[in-house]
Every structure is written in structure tokens, then in C-alpha cells.
């Protein structure tokens, strides 16, 4: 009896180990045929039409499917893409791109300059439905804005031929700009500028299903199970198909962060976290020990800050704003609360944005804008209260959107303000869109905010705080600031431009403390140790196209 029990048990164990071996053989996937990259998108991409995409989920999928005139390396340096070379006129107003002749669409058609002209004019088409939300990324092009905006625009241009993009022949694309734009080349690798196959003309819903999507990038779409998963396979017509080692890219859509982490730990995913997924904050400390070789923390071009309502008492007073900003111990905030290796922010433009020679922050350190300390904060508060003729501060509310991380930051700050300034700040949590509505209509005292770069230049931060900007949610209006931004727009010399933008940033923060910078974001993500050549760029977007498994 006892013997048979032992036999049974060993049989079960043997069977189990065979099964386990089968499983791991499948997972290991280092053979040439089984090079699968898998990551979590969290949710369904709203679109796979480059003209309509505007979110990191759609962008992540589009990165595999399409290729623009240029590509970018890890540091944001421009590499040739579909264009193998380009000429820039002396006045920096005309760009001539020379396209490679071996680029093909996934259906075998050649990729031509006409495809780019068509795609860009489609983005700007005033009658494109739904309208391209990111059309303004192309407003650098001559007459683009006046062609795109029809309603209530006396300068509307109805003739698309006047828009400054033109295919001179099949492989030469000429682009004329409104103003010299030193970062224009970096725009040509932006998703909105990807080419679109001309078959899109006949089917407006072409980008909603896998079978009608024709793409020109390293991969083509094999399946799109809505809300569930997307699979990409190599595009055999891609001009550099030899560089592509992956046999499949698999995107899942799992909304729960701890599920995503467990899927990574058990090998269902070989990439987790930023930009489309999330590593739970409370797990980061543990992962630094258990997954030391797989956890990566990369600084990205985004800033976490608080808005002051510059139009409403008490924050219409510069010294009271300064008091709140100086009372924050940012190092403690990133070490004890956010824990994701973030860098304390004393300015608005994050460190990964390029300047004239080095990074912009190396050229213009943000510590020059402020030196936080309890004493300085108290002094500023006393001065501010005196200027306002107040004995003490009225009740202040800090408005944030629902999110555990935001809540923890808010509580830490409320605590610092209580201890240093002796003020009670009430934290109010709002649902995301309710919050945005209140923020844009200046219905708050202090509110949370985050801003990420659209292109690798300080301007992507600086010009959002001009008086006319639709994203200026703080009621900050400064004529000098607006003038500096305008001057920078018209300046070609990089050094001079940077200087102008730095002066603007100093007005915004050093002089006025119109916002309260807290930290520069990092992209926390996990990459399996056998997965190589995964590149996260300065924006925090991931390029998996040249990845391979070892």
C-alpha cells in the first residue's frame, strides 16, 4: 500500500516536471522563430490612424507599424528613416527630403513622397472627420494653420496646394515652413507625421480593423482583438528587414497594475511598466532587490508640478506663492513618497531636453531659480501676508485628481506646509474630467499638473504659459514673457534662442513663482534580462522595433 503510494507520487512528479519543461521551452523563446516581445497597453488604443492618434497607447503600437521621414535614437538624435538625407536652406525655411527608393508598404507598393504629402494634408484637411487633434504639430508648415482652421477664420486658405508640403517627384519631398524651426527635424519622426497609404481615401474606417491597415514600418498588424490583444508580425517588405529580429510583437490590454506585474514575473510579459503600463509604487522598493537587473528607471521629459491660481487671493500674491514653493523639501518627497528615482524640480523644463550644446538644464541650472528653506519660506509668508493686509492665511484647498500616487504627494506637501508655514491645506480629490474642467476654468486655489514634451526643445514647455495658450491653466499673464517667447520663435541662432527661453523661465518661476515645480518624472519599467535592445527615448516612449531575445 505504502509502496504504491510512493510510485504514484513519483509518477505525478515526473509528469509535472515534463509538463513544466514543455512550458518553459515555450516561454524561453530564444530560438529564431520564437522571438516574441510582449507588453501591456492597459487599454484599447483609441485609433491606429497616425493622423488621429494622440495618446501613448496608440503611439506605442504605431511605432512598430509605421516609419516617418526620420527616426530617433535613445538621446533624441535624428537618424535617417524613410528619408535617407535632407537639405536645409540657409534661411532654415525650406527642407528638402530625399527618400530612399527601396521603402515599401506592407502590401508591396512603394513608399513615395506623394504618400507623405497626402498624409500631411490629410492631417490638416479642414473636412477630415473626426478632426486630427494633433494637427497643430504641423502648424510649423507654411499656411498649414490657415488651411486647417476654417470656422471664424478670415485668413482661411481653401486651396491645399498652398500648404507648404509638396512632392517634387516620387522621392523628393519639399517642406516650406512659416518660421525657422530648429527642432523641425525632430517633428518628422513624430507619429502625426507618419505616411498614410492612399487606400485610406476609399475607406474612412480603414484604421479600425487589422485587415484594412496598410503600414510602412518594421511590422504589420496581424490581429486586433478589440479590448483584448494586438499582434504585429514583421513586414517582409520593410527596407531594413534584416535589422528586425523579433518574430512577433504581442500587446495585451490589462487594466490592473499588480496583474501586469505578476504577468511579468511569471513570463507572460517580457516588458512591464512605463509608458503604457504601470509598476505599483509600493512594489518599487521590493523590486529594487528582487528584480535588480530587470528594473530600469529612466528620466523622461515630463514635469510634475502644482498650479497656483494666480488670479485668486491669496495666491495672487507673489510672496505667498513663494512661501508655498520654498517650504517644500523636494528631495524628501522623491526619496520617501514617490520612490521612483525622480529628480527634484526647481524649474519647468526637465533635464532630458536638449539645449544649444549640452542639455538645457546643464546650461541653465534650475537651482538658480530658488533656494528652498524653512526660514526663507516663513519670511516670504510674513511679507506676503503684510502686503495683503492679512493676519493669517484664509483656508486653502489643494485640488488633485483621483490617484493613489497624487494623493500621497498631496498629503506629504500638506504636512510640509503645516509644519513650516503653520497653514492648514485641505485636499480635495476629484474625478479626472471634473478636475480638468475645474482646472481650466480656474476654479481652484492650488491644483496638480503634469506636462510632457511633444518635441525635444524647451519651447514645448515654455510656450504653454503664454497669455494666449489654451494650456495656461494658472491665469498667468506677463507681457515680458509673451514677448520673449515671440522673439524666440523668430530666432534662428540656437544659443540666443535658449537664452531667450531661459529668461522666460526665470520670469515664470524665479521672479513670479507662477507654478510650483515638484519633480521631473522617470519612466519606471521592467525588462526581462534576456530581452535586448529595448530603447526608451527622452520622452519615455519605447522603441522595441530592433529588440531581440538572447
Amino acid at each position: 500500500m505504502r509502496k504504491s503510494w510512493v510510485v504514484t507520487l513519483s509518477l505525478i512528479l515526473a509528469l509535472a516536471s515534463v509538463l513544466a519543461a514543455c512550458g518553459s521551452g515555450k516561454e524561453g523563446g530564444s530560438s529564431a522563430k520564437n522571438q516574441v516581445f510582449s507588453m501591456n497597453l492597459t487599454s484599447e488604443p483609441p485609433t491606429l490612424d497616425p493622423a488621429l492618434a494622440q495618446d501613448s497607447v496608440s503611439f506605442t503600437v504605431l511605432t512598430g507599424l509605421y516609419e516617418g521621414l526620420t527616426r530617433k535614437d535613445e538621446n533624441g538624435k535624428v537618424l535617417p528613416g524613410i528619408a535617407e538625407s535632407w537639405d536645409i536652406s540657409d534661411d532654415q525655411l525650406t527642407y528638402t527630403f530625399h527618400l530612399r527608393k527601396d521603402a515599401k508598404w506592407s502590401n508591396g507598393d512603394p513608399v513615395t513622397a506623394h504618400d507623405f504629402e497626402y498624409a500631411w494634408k490629410r492631417v490638416l484637411d479642414p473636412d477630415l472627420n473626426p478632426a486630427s487633434p494633433y494637427a497643430y504639430q504641423l502648424y510649423y508648415i507654411k499656411n498649414a494653420e490657415n488651411y486647417n482652421i476654417k470656422a471664424n477664420n478670415p485668413n482661411h486658405i481653401s486651396d491645399p496646394a498652398q500648404v507648404g508640403v509638396k512632392a517634387l517627384d516620387d522621392y523628393t519631398l519639399q517642406v516650406r515652413l512659416e518660421h525657422p524651426t530648429p527642432y523641425f527635424l525632430s517633428i518628422t519622426s513624430f507619429w502625426t507625421t507618419f505616411p498614410v497609404h492612399s487606400s485610406a481615401k476609399d475607406n474612412e474606417a480603414w484604421a479600425a480593423e487589422a485587415k484594412t491597415i496598410v503600414s510602412n514600418g518594421p511590422f504589420k498588424i496581424a490581429t486586433w482583438k478589440h479590448g483584448n490583444e494586438i499582434e504585429l508580425v514583421p513586414n517582409e517588405n520593410y527596407y531594413a528587414k534584416d535589422e528586425i529580429k523579433l518574430s512577433k510583437v504581442r500587446f495585451v490590454m490589462v487594466a490592473n497594475a499588480s496583474t501586469e506585474l505578476q504577468m511579468f514575473q511569471t513570463g507572460q510579459l517580457n516588458y512591464a511598466g512605463f509608458p503604457t503600463g504601470e509598476i505599483p509604487v509600493e512594489q518599487i522598493g521590493k523590486l529594487k532587490e528582487t528584480n535588480k537587473d530587470e528594473l530600469r528607471i529612466k528620466p523622461i521629459a515630463s514635469t510634475y508640478y502644482y498650479n497656483f491660481n494666480n488670479t485668486k487671493s491669496p495666491f495672487d500674491n507673489v510672496n505667498i506663492r513663494k512661501a508655498f514653493a520654498l517650504a517644500v523639501d523636494r528631495q524628501q518627497l522623491v526619496d520617501k513618497v514617490t520612490k521612483g528615482g525622480q529628480e527634484p524640480a526647481y524649474g519647468f523644463v526637465p533635464p532630458s531636453i536638449m539645449g544649444a550644446q549640452k542639455t538645457y538644464r546643464e546650461e541653465y541650472p534650475d537651482r538658480d531659480f530658488m533656494s528652498p528653506s524653512a526660514e526663507a519660506a516663513k519670511a516670504a509668508l510674513a511679507k506676503g501676508l503684510q502686503e495683503k493686509g492679512l493676519a493669517k492665511l484664509p483656508p486653502v484647498t489643494l485640488t488633485i485628481n483621483e490617484n493613489t500616487g497624487h494623493k500621497q504627494v498631496a498629503e506629504a506637501l500638506a504636512d510640509m506646509w503645516r509644519k513650516t508655514l503653520g497653514v492648514e491645506v485641505k485636499i480635495e480629490t476629484q474625478e479626472w474630467k471634473v478636475f480638468l474642467k475645474n482646472r481650466t476654468s480656474l476654479n481652484y486655489d492650488i491644483s496638480r499638473a503634469g506636462w510632457s514634451a511633444d518635441y525635444n526643445d524647451p519651447m514645448t514647455f515654455i510656450d504653454m504659459m503664454t497669455s494666449a495658450s489654451g494650456n495656461n491653466d494658472i491665469g498667468f499673464k506677463n507681457a515680458e514673457y509673451d514677448k520673449l517667447v515671440k522673439e524666440a520663435y523668430a530666432t534662428v541662432d540656437q544659443k540666443k534662442r535658449m537664452e531667450l527661453m531661459h529668461r522666460a523661465e526665470k520670469i515664470l518661476i524665479g521672479d513670479n513663482m507662477a507654478i510650483l515645480p515638484l519633480y521631473y518624472y522617470t519612466g519606471v519599467h521592467l525588462v526581462k534580462s534576456n530581452l535586448k535592445n529595448i530603447v526608451m527615448d527622452y520622452q519615455g516612449m519605447v522603441d522595441y522595433t530592433r529588440a531581440y531575445l538572447e
Binding site: 473626426p130 487594466a255 479626472w432
Partner: protein, 312 residues
């Protein structure tokens, strides 16, 4: 019978109309719209988007337009997922919720009733106490705790099952247990108490006096009465499970309808909010109708034609 069905259809139509109206205006009252986002879209582009989706018109006009589409069985297009129809999204995602739900319902009813009958037959013995303790656990442990625990133990620690996804039959195990734990516990307790009641009734004594075996008594006589409360409970429960549990779906990464419902509200995807709400309502009403019919089958005293009492 015909009168019953006419009454039923009229009441369903009226309920749907009231629900659609209330949801529409409540939804419009929430601040924000599908195009409210961190990086504000330039005002001119925003106006074009609003116009494309008909959101630039006064709310009452939007409402009439929506009702008109609804009369033509057109739920419209999603405002978040470009060129995806609401009907398509619902049918895709409901497929997952439905398959999972049907298994969970079957497991709940079969296991729940079986445990309840066993417990009643062994009243105040070990089986009874153990199953009732388990039932209390089942009712009181929230399903997300159970789901996360199973996921950690069987998915992560032991690696017996996949952590997430709904691809193979094994992937059903954990979500089904998470979904059916509470209904099993509830049904077991319901069955047990009504069985106990039934077992002490006069007609059982008669049956026993006739010399029928205990098994025959229980299966043929007591169960019929014993499961009546289960039928009452099973209707709404089935509707609830089939339409998808948001939390269980999220934990196991199942692309079901529940997730879309939550996402549609936070995205202000108006057409999808309306579509899913109406769909939920129809499923719920259908479940109640089926409950009524099953009621009549189990207990001939309750007849559909006997009046509106049973229908309410």
C-alpha cells in the same frame, strides 16, 4: 397569456424609455466631455470634434437625435474609439463576459444547491456545520480578495495557472471561482433553510408514511419546494454575473463588458455609456422574465396567466 406578454412588452418599453432619458440627462450633467484632456486640444479643433459628434447642439436636440437613432436600433459610434460602433464593442466584450458568466452561473447553482441539500439532509451533523462555516466565509470574503489571493498563490507562487487572460479552458478556473464563491455560499444557505422547512412539512410526512426512501423523498418532493427561493435569487444573480464583474475582470485581465462600462464613464464616451446602460437593462429584464417562466415550471401554482403578481 397574450395579455400577459403585451403587458410585459409595454412595461419593458416604458422602463427602457425612462432609463434612457434619465441616463442621458444625468450623463450630460457630469462636467467634461470626450475631448477634455490634460493637453488641451486647440479650441478650433475642439469645436470641429464637437460638431462631428453632434455635441455642439443643445442637449434636448442631442436627446431627440439619440432617441431617433435608438428607434432605428442604432446605438451609434464610440466617441473614444474611432470608427468602432457601440454595438460592435458590446458584442465583442459581452462575448467574454457571457462565456465566463455562463460557466460561473452553472457552477454556482449546481454546487450551491448540492451543498445546500447535503447540509439539510445531514442537519446538525459535521457536513452541515462545515458547509455552513464555508458559506459564511464565502459570503463575507470579498471577491477581489479571493481573486488576488488565488492569483498570487496559483498563478505566481505555484505557477499552476496563467495569471491573466482568457485563452484556454484552464484560464476559466480562477475567475469562475472568484465569481461564484458568493453565489454558491448564498444559494447553499437558501437551499438549506428552505429544504429544512420543506422536510418538516406535512406532505413529506405523508410521503414518508407511504414508505418512500429518503432519497426519493428529498429528490422528488422536497427539492421542488426547496429550490424556489433559489430560482428567485438566480435571475438577478445571473444578470449580474453575465454582465461582468468589473473587479474580477480587471484582476484577471478579461476584456469583458464591465471594464468598458467603467472606462466609458471616465472617458465620457456618451454613446457607449448609453449603449451599455441600455444593454444591461435589457439583460436584467430578460433575466427576470426567464425567472418568471422558470417559476411557473417549478411550481405550477404560480402561473404566468394568473396575474401580474408573479410578473412584478
Amino acid at each position: 397569456m397574450t395579455r400577459y406578454w403585451i403587458g410585459k412588452i409595454v412595461s419593458v418599453a416604458v422602463s427602457l424609455f425612462v432609463l434612457a432619458t434619465a441616463t442621458f440627462f444625468l450623463m450630460k450633467a457630469i462636467p467634461g466631455d470626450p475631448f477634455t484632456q490634460e493637453k488641451a486640444v486647440p479650441e478650433e479643433i475642439r469645436q470641429k470634434l464637437l460638431a462631428y459628434y453632434g455635441l455642439d447642439k443643445p442637449v434636448w436636440q442631442q436627446y431627440l437625435a439619440y432617441l431617433n437613432n435608438l428607434l432605428h436600433f442604432d446605438l451609434g459610434m464610440s466617441m473614444k474609439s474611432n470608427y468602432q460602433t457601440v454595438a460592435g464593442i458590446i458584442s465583442d466584450s459581452f462575448g467574454y463576459s457571457f462565456r465566463l458568466g455562463v460557466v460561473a452561473i452553472a457552477v454556482s447553482i449546481i454546487v450551491g444547491v448540492a451543498v445546500g441539500i447535503l447540509a439539510a439532509m445531514h442537519h446538525r451533523k459535521l457536513i452541515d456545520s462545515v458547509s455552513m462555516v464555508l458559506a459564511v466565509l464565502g459570503v463575507s470574503v470579498p471577491n477581489f480578495v479571493l481573486a488576488s489571493l488565488m492569483q498570487y498563490v496559483f498563478g505566481y507562487k505555484l505557477r499552476w495557472l496563467q495569471v491573466a487572460g482568457l485563452n484556454g479552458p484552464l484560464d476559466y478556473v480562477m475567475p469562475v471561482i472568484a465569481l461564484s464563491a458568493l453565489p454558491i455560499a448564498y444559494i447553499a444557505r437558501l437551499t438549506r433553510s428552505s429544504m429544512l422547512e420543506a422536510l418538516s412539512a406535512e406532505y413529506i410526512k405523508t410521503a414518508r408514511a407511504k414508505g418512500l426512501s429518503k432519497r426519493a423523498i428529498v429528490l422528488r418532493h422536497a427539492v421542488r419546494n426547496g429550490i424556489l427561493p433559489v430560482v428567485t435569487y438566480a435571475g438577478p444573480m445571473a444578470a449580474n454575473i453575465v454582465t461582468g464583474s468589473v473587479i474580477v475582470e480587471q484582476i484577471f485581465g478579461i476584456p469583458g463588458l464591465g471594464q468598458y462600462f467603467v472606462a466609458s464613464v471616465s472617458n465620457r464616451d456618451y454613446t457607449l455609456i448609453m449603449g451599455i446602460t441600455l444593454f444591461y437593462a435589457i439583460v436584467l429584464m430578460a433575466a427576470r422574465l426567464i425567472t418568471d417562466i422558470v417559476y411557473g415550471l417549478v411550481d405550477p401554482r404560480i402561473r404566468l396567466r394568473s396575474g401580474k403578481g408573479a410578473a412584478s
